[in-house]
Symmetry: C2
């Protein structure tokens, strides 16, 4: 399964034949009802610029495949015969999203309407556990979720997994996940073979969640998130920019002070040396441990001066690294997600000061994500749902 | 005119109707013959996966419109009846490319086969001249080229202009061109109204030239060029990344040493303060003047130690800024174009040293452009040609 990361209605890569056109039009109908429904056939037709007759044929096919359902006659709000309102099915295919965190595993089920229908989380220290051991636990959770989905009348259409590491583009291989100590691990070997699979970096799925679910996310933004490391993902014209090998978005290793402290990546003075969790905890005088972000937020809120200075300095380093990123990429906004969204009140002032004094002209908005640390898990599940909306023919037999 | 900056065959944004499909298929036929011709109708059909009959209809239309021509029977190298070889027309529409430089104006005419059919260059110091005065000179050159194109049997299909400044996306407005001292200048007011117009930053057209004409340019690269300032343009999956407002690629203002010298952009320690022409000349002990890049290259080649140190330090600063860019963007290669290509022997070693010691893993190739300072002019002319190949219906009446 390839995740399509577009905001546009889909199946754009299908061949340009009658058959390809039909598949694209099925996708356009389904996307339109998903976005704007309930809608009558006439409402769909006027939105996508096809005839009412053409839309009716497509709708019938989508109903037969269990992707659309009729809600009954619309209220007669307008002149003319009332049409029957259409909605995407709440009992059709569903996306299974999963997250491998350093401290936890999570799985959820999202239906075509975007509702979370089941969810399971397990706290577990995954540091230095093998991929095989971690994925055995994850598979157990996935199977439990598949059973629950079935009890709700849903059919899992695929499984997408967010991991805290670099994933080679177009593969299921985690090339490097430093905080798990995983290298070149092909995850497909240890996962249920019956579900189409996608594996991607957590920052990418977090950015996609922001694009698809966020409050008014623009079509161009840089999504910055932090858990243990600092990751970023670029959305350009409504599409994720993955880089030639899938490694784009390594904001944590942008040099801030070129002769600063050595970094595990081999560089010096990388952003992570100033704004990564470990660096901030050290500067704040706090030991490492579970859920340090909550502790930092608590202490900063209580007025702890050392913690506030540590966060202010981290915000300034973020501002310097982001100056480079904004100059290179010209995003409409920088969105702070993950742990950064919880620490935003103490990071943002110094971050905006640096951006403001360094960038000429209108610069770039800095906004805080409304999704926060749920992003990667929801982004993964929705990636499967989008894949169904983008090519319903994968389901319509 | 919108320049399509895609490497893929075009008209991808046309509506998904029979008419849209026909326009896309005309484009696919024309692109295929342009890329691989001379070709028979059967050769085209097998390459694009349409029937021979469908291709024949499309070809007839393109011949009637003067976009394709028949070269006569192919050599009977294979079994069966020889087909007639098709080529794109050498007497059809042509692209007019123009460049506004700080020290010169240039215009050229490129035919559908990609051949430069006419060219004019005028040395003129454009610093602090008004857009109106500069564009009056440019218009005179353009009119002369239109006449020469006509004498060659070519019909100009549009005019594209490369400028050394930021151009607001989707407009003809130069928002800021510091070395010309232009601000918010809508160029369309002073240019021939009869030609469809495109205006873009010189670094963007330089990168497109590299994409379309370079020796084996990959589909993902960061093109870095310098004349007076330092610009960059990102090509991602064969498309130019313009940024939300058209301002992406400002590599010259990525912070290298955050508390370094003040920059005209308002920031501190920007790359231009270490690797821009003015900074390098100062470090090399050379006064400003005409064609300083040639002087730098000459002195460096002759073993001038001060010049070599200045270029080595500039290369190191480039390497630090590019470390950030490569971590963010994961391009397949960094391509050095414009003035940088002439200075590459003395810049590249320190640049590669910095990249090599800072970036973990396979990193990124550094290659020198084979096109050099002609890039922006050729890129502009080819942008017009590509617009014709992408939507021949703009020409087929």
């Amino acid at each position: 399964m390839e995740c399509d990361d577009s905001k546009q209605t889909g199946a754009g890569r299908l061949p340009d034949t009658q058959q390809g056109m039909r598949r694209r039009n099925l996708s356009r109908v389904l996307h339109t009802v998903a976005a704007d429904g309930p809608l009558s056939r006439a409402g769909v037709a006027s939105r996508i610029g096809l005839t009412r007759a053409a839309v009716s044929t497509l709708v019938d096919e989508l109903i037969r495949a269990g992707l659309l359902e009729e809600l009954g006659p619309e209220r007669p709000a307008r002149v003319g015969r009332p049409g029957s309102a259409l909605a995407v099915s709440a009992h059709g295919p569903a996306g299974i999203g999963a997250e491998v965190g350093v401290d936890h595993l999570a799985v959820c089920v999202v239906d075509l309407r975007g509702a979370v229908r089941a969810r399971a989380v397990r706290q577990v220290d995954n540091r230095a556990r093998t991929p095989k051991a971690v994925l055995a636990d994850l598979t157990a959770l996935v199977r439990q979720m598949v059973v629950e989905a079935g009890q709700e009348g849903l059919r899992p259409a695929g499984l997408a997994i967010a991991v805290p590491g670099l994933v080679a583009r177009g593969t299921h291989t985690v090339v490097r996940a430093p905080n798990l100590d995983w290298h070149d691990a092909d995850l497909s070997a240890w996962l249920p073979a019956e579900l189409p699979l996608a594996v991607d970096n957590e920052a990418n799925f977090g950015a996609l969640a922001e694009l698809w679910l966020g409050d008014a996310a623009p079509a161009d933004f840089l999504h910055v998130s932090a858990e243990i490391g600092i990751g970023a993902a670029l959305v350009v014209d409504g599409r994720l920019l993955r880089g030639s090998r899938g490694f784009a978005g390594e904001l944590g290793h942008v040099p801030v002070w070129p002769e600063g402290p050595e970094c595990a990546c081999g560089g010096r003075g990388c952003l992570e040396q100033y704004a990564g969790e470990e660096a901030v905890l050290r500067a704040a005088g706090l030991p490492p441990g579970a859920d340090r972000v909550a502790v930092l937020a608590e202490r900063a809120a209580a007025g702890d001066e050392q913690v506030r200075v540590a966060l202010r300095d981290a915000g300034a380093a973020l501002g310097i690294a982001l100056t480079g990123a904004v100059n290179l990429l010209d995003p409409r906004a920088v969105v702070l997600g993950g742990a950064l969204s919880r620490l935003a009140p103490w990071l943002v002032p110094s971050l905006e000061d640096e951006l403001g004094r360094r960038i000429a002209g209108p610069g770039c908005d800095v906004v805080v994500s409304s999704i926060g640390s749920e992003g990667p898990l929801l982004g993964a599940a929705h990636a499967v749902v989008r894949a169904v909306l983008d090519d319903p023919m994968g389901v319509v037999v």
